[in-house]
C-alpha cells in the first residue's frame, strides 16, 4: 500500500479544449419563499480548481446546480463563459453518489455519455476509457460490474466517467464525502492530479479537502448567502496533509466558516 501522504504520480489528463473561465453574477434564487441567495457573484478562473465551502443548507449545491443547468435561477442571474457562448452542454458533473448503473460494466459506465447521446463509441473512445480507468487505478477491472467494487473504486469509475466527458467545466458536488478517511485522501490525490489544468468547481464541507486540492477557496455563509474573498493556499495540488501552512490555513477557514 502506498503512503497516502506521497504523490501517487498519476499524470494529469490534458483537457481537450482550452480551459474556460466562467462567471455567475447577480445570481438570485428563492426556495419555498426563502431567499437562498441574491446578487451573488462567483468567478471560476480558467484552468484552476475553485472550492466552495459552507455550512449545510447554505445553498452551495444549489449554486452548483445553477451552473450545471439543473436548477432554474431567477432574473437577473447571469451565467457567462469566457468565450461568450452558452454553457449548456459544456459541463461534466460528478455527485456525492457515484451514480453508476448497476447493469453496465465498469467500462460501459465510463462510456455512459456516449450511450446517452446515442453514439456508438469507436475504438479510440474505448481505448481512451480503458486508459482513463487505468489512470484512476482500475486497470483490469473494465468488465466487472459496479456491485463488485468498493465505495472508493466506484467513485474512481465516476471520476473516469467525468473525465471521459471532455468538457471545459467540471462541477463536483461533495464527490468524496461518502468515503472513509483514507480512501478519501487517496481519491483527492487522483482527482487533483487528473483534473489539473481544467476549470473545476468543487463544493465541499471539508476544509482540509478544499485546502489539499483547491487553488481558490471561497466560503459561502448566511441567509441570503454571501460568498467571501478567495483564499489561495500556496503550492500546487494535491498538497500534503501534514503541510504546516495547510494547518494554519485550516484554522483560518474554520474561523470564516463559523463567522
Amino acid at each position: 500500500m502506498t503512503d497516502v501522504l506521497l504523490r501517487s504520480g498519476a499524470r494529469p489528463v490534458p483537457p481537450p479544449v482550452a480551459a474556460l473561465p466562467v462567471t455567475v453574477s447577480s445570481a438570485r434564487l428563492t426556495y419555498g419563499g426563502t431567499v437562498l441567495f441574491s446578487d451573488l457573484t462567483l468567478t471560476l478562473e480558467a484552468g484552476r480548481t475553485t472550492c466552495l465551502l459552507g455550512p449545510s443548507g447554505v445553498g452551495k449545491t444549489t449554486l452548483l446546480r445553477v451552473l450545471a443547468g439543473l436548477a432554474d435561477p431567477e432574473p437577473p442571474t447571469r451565467v457567462e463563459a469566457g468565450d461568450g457562448r452558452p454553457l449548456g452542454g459544456r459541463i461534466a458533473y460528478m455527485a456525492q453518489q457515484d451514480l453508476l448503473l448497476p447493469w453496465l460494466s465498469v467500462l460501459d459506465n465510463a462510456l455512459l455519455g456516449d450511450r446517452l447521446r446515442r453514439r456508438k463509441p469507436d475504438a479510440d473512445r474505448v481505448e481512451r476509457a480503458i486508459a482513463l480507468l487505468a489512470r484512476v487505478g482500475l486497470a483490469g477491472r473494465e468488465r466487472d460490474r459496479p456491485a463488485s467494487l468498493s465505495g472508493g473504486q466506484r467513485q474512481r469509475v465516476a471520476l473516469a466517467r467525468t473525465l471521459m466527458e471532455d468538457k471545459p467545466l467540471v462541477l463536483m458536488d461533495e464527490p468524496f464525502s461518502a468515503l472513509d478517511a483514507l480512501t478519501r485522501l487517496r481519491l483527492q490525490e487522483t482527482a487533483a492530479e487528473t483534473l489539473a489544468g481544467r476549470t473545476v468547481l468543487m463544493v465541499t464541507h471539508d476544509p482540509l479537502e478544499a485546502l489539499r486540492i483547491g487553488d481558490r477557496l471561497h466560503v459561502m455563509t448566511g441567509r441570503p448567502a454571501a460568498i467571501g474573498p478567495a483564499l489561495e493556499p500556496p503550492g500546487t495540488a494535491p498538497r500534503r496533509v501534514d503541510d504546516p501552512a495547510l494547518l494554519a490555513l485550516q484554522a483560518e477557514l474554520l474561523r470564516r466558516l463559523a463567522a
Partner: protein, 255 residues
C-alpha cells in the same frame, strides 16, 4: 433442494390427512374422492386431460404474451408522454373497478366459443398488473441518474431507453410474476362461460356427471401449470437481471 424436500413432506402429510378423512367418514366417491382415486382417474383419463390441458395452456401462454406486451407498451407510453399520463391514468385506474369476470359472457358473445375469447380474458386480467408494475418502476428512477443524464445532454427518449427502462426491469418482472399467477384464472373463467374444450370445460362437464375424481384431476393439472409457469418466469427474471443482488424470492420453488 432442501426447500423442495420440505415441500414434499408437507404435501405428503396433507395428502395422508385427506385420504384418512375419506376412509374415516366413508364419504361416497362422487362427493369427495380420496387422493388415490384422483391419481387413478388421472392415469385413466390421461389422454383426455392432455387434450384439454393443451387448449388451456395455449390460452394461458398466448394471453400472457399478449398481456405483457400490451401492458409494457402502455407503461412506456404513460412514462414517456406526460399528456398520456394525465388523460389515460385515471381511466386505467377506474377500469379496474369493473370486475373482469362480468365481461366474460360479453367476450364469448363477441369473440365466439373458441380460444380467442379466453385469450382476451387472460389479456384483460394480466394487463393491469403489468402496466402498473412497469409504470411504477419507470417513475421511480433515481433522480441523481436523471440529473447525470441531463448534464450529459441526453434526450428524454435516450434517458428512458438507457436508464429508466433498465432500472425499472426488477419492478417489471414482479409484475410478470403476478401476471403468471393470475393468467390461468382468466383462461378458466373464459372456459366456464362458454367453450367446447379446455380444462375449465372439462371441470364443468365432470361436475355435471358426478365425475368428481376427474374434476379434481383437472384442478391438479391446472395447479401444475401454474407452478411450472411461475418457476419459468422466475428463471427468466433471474437470467434477465444478473446485476440484481440475488435474493431468493419467498417460496421454495427454486430451492
Amino acid at each position: 433442494m432442501r426447500g423442495l424436500a420440505r415441500g414434499a413432506v408437507t404435501l405428503a402429510v396433507l395428502l395422508g390427512a385427506w385420504q384418512g378423512l375419506v376412509w374415516l367418514t366413508g364419504l361416497p366417491r362422487y362427493l369427495l374422492p380420496g387422493p388415490l382415486a384422483v391419481a387413478e382417474a388421472m392415469q385413466r383419463q390421461a389422454p383426455l386431460l392432455l387434450q384439454h390441458g393443451l387448449t388451456t395452456l395455449t390460452e394461458i401462454l398466448l394471453g400472457l404474451v399478449g398481456g405483457v406486451v400490451l401492458g409494457s407498451l402502455s407503461a412506456l407510453t404513460l412514462a414517456r408522454f406526460r399528456a398520456a399520463q394525465r388523460w389515460l391514468m385515471p381511466l386505467l385506474v377506474v377500469s379496474q373497478a369493473i370486475p373482469v369476470f362480468a365481461l366474460a359472457p360479453l367476450l364469448v358473445l363477441w369473440l365466439g366459443y373458441g380460444m380467442a375469447s379466453k385469450i382476451a380474458m387472460a389479456v384483460l386480467i394480466i394487463y393491469f398488473p403489468v402496466t402498473t408494475a412497469l409504470f411504477d418502476g419507470l417513475r421511480r428512477t433515481d433522480p441523481g441518474w436523471l440529473d447525470l443524464a441531463r448534464t450529459m445532454g441526453a434526450t428524454p427518449a435516450a434517458t428512458l431507453w438507457a436508464i429508466r427502462l433498465p432500472a425499472a426491469l426488477p419492478a417489471f418482472w414482479s409484475g410478470v410474476r403476478v401476471a403468471a399467477a393470475v393468467a390461468p384464472i382468466g383462461a378458466v373463467i373464459g372456459e366456464w362461460v362458454g367453450s367446447s374444450s379446455g380444462l375449465g370445460y372439462l371441470m364443468l362437464h365432470a361436475n355435471a356427471r358426478m365425475q368428481i375424481d376427474l374434476l379434481f384431476a383437472a384442478v391438479l393439472v391446472l395447479g401444475l401449470f401454474a407452478v411450472a409457469l411461475y418457476a419459468a418466469v422466475n428463471a427468466l427474471a433471474r437470467r434477465a437481471l444478473p446485476w440484481q443482488s440475488d435474493t431468493q424470492p419467498a417460496g421454495g420453488l427454486n430451492g
